[in-house]
């Protein structure tokens, strides 16, 4: 199968959906012809679809989302880009109190088909205001979906599902994933929400990971298999809301051991919810404590040795797995 990058996969999804449905349009800072998006995901789209449908905005995160909400409830399908995930904080009211709640508050009168694409994550030394993973905030907001694609295939398929759906979606991308390549079919496909993908099968330990951490988990699994003969199953939920609890629990039933890996700060993060869910619903299958691998509770520092210290790496995953087997 042909290989394309995560960035190209996202762009293809946008292009195909824009061709398919005139209601789909994009808005965000510098996404248009002069820049093509800070991470170049939207490059070339303004040239094809025009400046009206690939709309450069002022630096007004709150209004970007607010405007998208207004467009969504009146028949459009906006895909908004927030240039860095950290900046969703500026639009938190529009995301959590408006986009996510309007339908419910209005007793089902409104549909809010809105996708918010934004890159999370560290690893490129741009410090505390441009490096966070904040998916957990959004998991805590009913009415939102949270997508976390880790591969080009998932990125394209999930983005198409997000755009076609009728609910607001925080579509979490990761800066380090944009250049990675993976197989993506030429033919039309979508990836459903709420269906985890077993990225590697294994017997001894379940490792649940998302976004860039999927790749670190896979490399850790490789090392553990080769060097220690430990067989790791890597489960990628692909969407955090809805969460495929069954897939996680089934894997835990098989392995009896759970390590949850996420790039966000540990406390009240993604790993908390997954660990708690298993402790509540499947504790009897566990043969060892649940391990969480996440960032320590610090902002993300700038300097490379400091940043490397806080972002979970393969070694941290390997250590955690060894502690539970």
């Amino acid at each position: 199968m042909r290989k394309i990058t995560y960035r190209e996969a996202l762009r293809e999804a946008l292009r195909e959906e824009m061709r398919r449905d005139p209601a789909v349009f994009l808005l965000g800072e510098d996404i248009g012809r002069y820049w093509g998006g800070a991470f170049k995901v939207t490059e070339g789209l303004a040239e094809e679809f025009g400046d009206e449908r690939v709309r450069d905005t002022p630096i007004s995160e709150s209004a970007i989302i607010g405007v998208a909400v207004g467009a969504a409830i009146t028949g459009m399908r906006p895909v908004a880009e927030i240039m860095f995930g950290d900046l969703t904080a500026l639009a938190m009211d529009q995301i959590a109190n408006q986009a996510a709640k309007l339908r419910y508050m209005f007793g089902g009168q409104a549909k809010v088909p809105l996708v918010i694409r934004t890159p999370f994550g560290g690893g490129v030394n741009i410090a505390a205001h441009h490096s966070q993973c904040l998916e957990a905030w959004f998991m805590h907001v009913p009415g939102l979906y949270v997508a976390v694609p880790s591969t080009p295939y998932d990125a394209k398929g999930l983005l198409k599902t997000a755009i076609r759906g009728n609910n607001p979606v925080i579509f979490c991308e990761h800066k380090l994933l944009y250049p990675i390549e993976g197989e993506v079919p030429e033919e039309e496909y979508t990836v459903p929400f709420g269906v985890a993908d077993i990225k590697r099968e294994g017997e001894d330990v379940t490792v649940v990971a998302t976004l860039y951490m999927v790749h670190r988990a896979l490399r850790a699994a490789e090392v553990l298999a080769k060097e220690k003969g430990i067989s790791v199953e890597v489960v990628d939920p692909r969407t955090l809301t809805p969460l495929d609890k069954k897939a996680i629990i089934n894997s835990v039933k098989k392995t009896g051991r759970l390590v949850v890996v996420s790039e966000d700060c540990k406390t009240a993060g993604v790993t908390a919810e997954i660990a708690a869910m298993v402790a509540e619903e499947a504790i009897d299958y566990l043969d060892a404590p649940i391990k969480r691998v996440a960032e320590p509770d610090t902002p993300i520092p700038f300097s490379p040795p400091l940043e490397r210290r806080v972002i979970p790496d393969e070694k941290a995953i390997i250590r955690a797995v060894e502690e539970v087997v």
């Binding site: 709309r55 007004s60 207004g70 969504a72 409830i73 109190n97 309007l102 508050m105 089902g108």
Partner: protein, 323 residues
């Protein structure tokens, strides 16, 4: 001010009826509240009727509005059924939002009422977004966005109006300046006399209208709507008005000087419009009393409907989270 157009007789009569309807509706809500029949809190529109009615009368049914915590009047003016508005306020299943929204979140999408948000200022970019949607869909609708003087200090005011301005979106920003945001006088939180002055920061017209004169509001809106439909972009209309009661529920509004309250009560928009209609020979005293009685009956009916409607079942709380 000179009016571009005095509306035809039926329109004037309808406007009067709607103003009375809002007034009586709110008085009823207040009564029910005092009897402990309204859950939560309420923000009455009493005194500001000329704004909602002036604006909405200048709009078409397929135009949109966005609303606020003080939204009963907007809803009714845009054509929502008082029965279902009242039912929503009482938390009944027959309410527009099935009891999920209540007073601060009423919506009636069927008449273009895109809902009330209780986060002050949050509706401003949403209204701009509806305007963008109109532009992209190439219809000739417009959006009227209601908000208060207090809301004009929110970041969303700045961002939302700016975006509407640069994209020439068909939006009418209607600031209902009732001089106070809760107990906070406008002069404590703004160094400008009128909110309309802020329009210049976005390169759009800013207009001050007498918010207690329904025809003035109607006229300003008509002009703004025309401009918007022609693709010339948004207008900010500031309607100077006053709420007759406290901010919410039991607020006695002691922070307002007595003379100020009296002066504004003397300028009651309904009283003024009534006088105007008599003066213009549009209606006679008898006809007016007739309308007042009809409206009162409609409100009674709405109360009865709402009171007799069932509450939602507890499990309905779990519905409508996702589409």
């Amino acid at each position: 001010m000179t009016l571009t157009a005095v509306p035809p007789r039926e329109k004037l009569v309808e406007m009067y009826g709607t103003m009375v309807k809002i007034r009586l509706f709110e008085e009823k809500v207040f009564e029910l509240y005092a009897q402990n029949l309204v859950p939560g809190t309420i923000h009455l529109y009493t005194g500001q009727e000329a704004v909602a009615v002036g604006v909405c009368s200048a709009l078409r049914r397929d135009d949109y509005i966005t609303s606020t915590h003080r939204g009963h009047g907007h809803c009714i003016a845009k054509g929502a059924d008082v029965k279902r508005v009242m039912a929503e306020i009482l938390g009944k299943r027959t309410g527009y939002c099935k009891g999920k929204g209540g007073s601060m979140h009423i919506a009636d999408f069927s008449v273009g009422m895109l809902g009330a948000t209780a986060v002050v200022g949050a509706g401003i970019p949403i209204a701009a977004g509806a305007g963008l949607s109109i532009k992209l869909r190439k219809t000739d609708q417009v959006v009227a966005c209601f908000f208060g003087d207090g809301a004009s200090n929110q970041g969303t005011f700045h961002e939302g109006i700016n975006m509407a301005a640069i994209w020439s979106l068909p939006v009418i920003f209607v600031c209902e300046n009732n001089l106070y945001a809760m107990g906070t006088r406008q002069s404590m939180v703004m160094r400008v006399e009128s909110v309309a002055e802020r329009a210049s920061a976005y390169g759009i017209p800013g207009v001050v209208a007498d918010g207690n004169d329904v025809l003035a509001v109607y006229d300003a809106t008509l002009k703004a709507a025309e401009r918007a439909r022609k693709g010339e972009g948004p207008t900010l209309i500031e309607c100077k008005t006053y709420r007759h009661r406290g901010h919410s529920r039991v607020d006695p509004a002691k922070y307002r000087p007595k003379e100020e309250v009296e002066a504004w009560l003397a300028r009651d928009p309904i009283k003024r419009f009534r006088e105007k209609l008599l003066e213009l020979n549009v209606l006679t005293e008898v006809e007016i009393q007739q309308i007042d009685r009809e409206v009162a009956a409609e409100i009674e009916e709405a109360v009865q409907y709402a009171m007799e409607s069932p509450y939602p079942a507890p499990e309905e709380a779990l519905e409508d989270v996702y589409a």
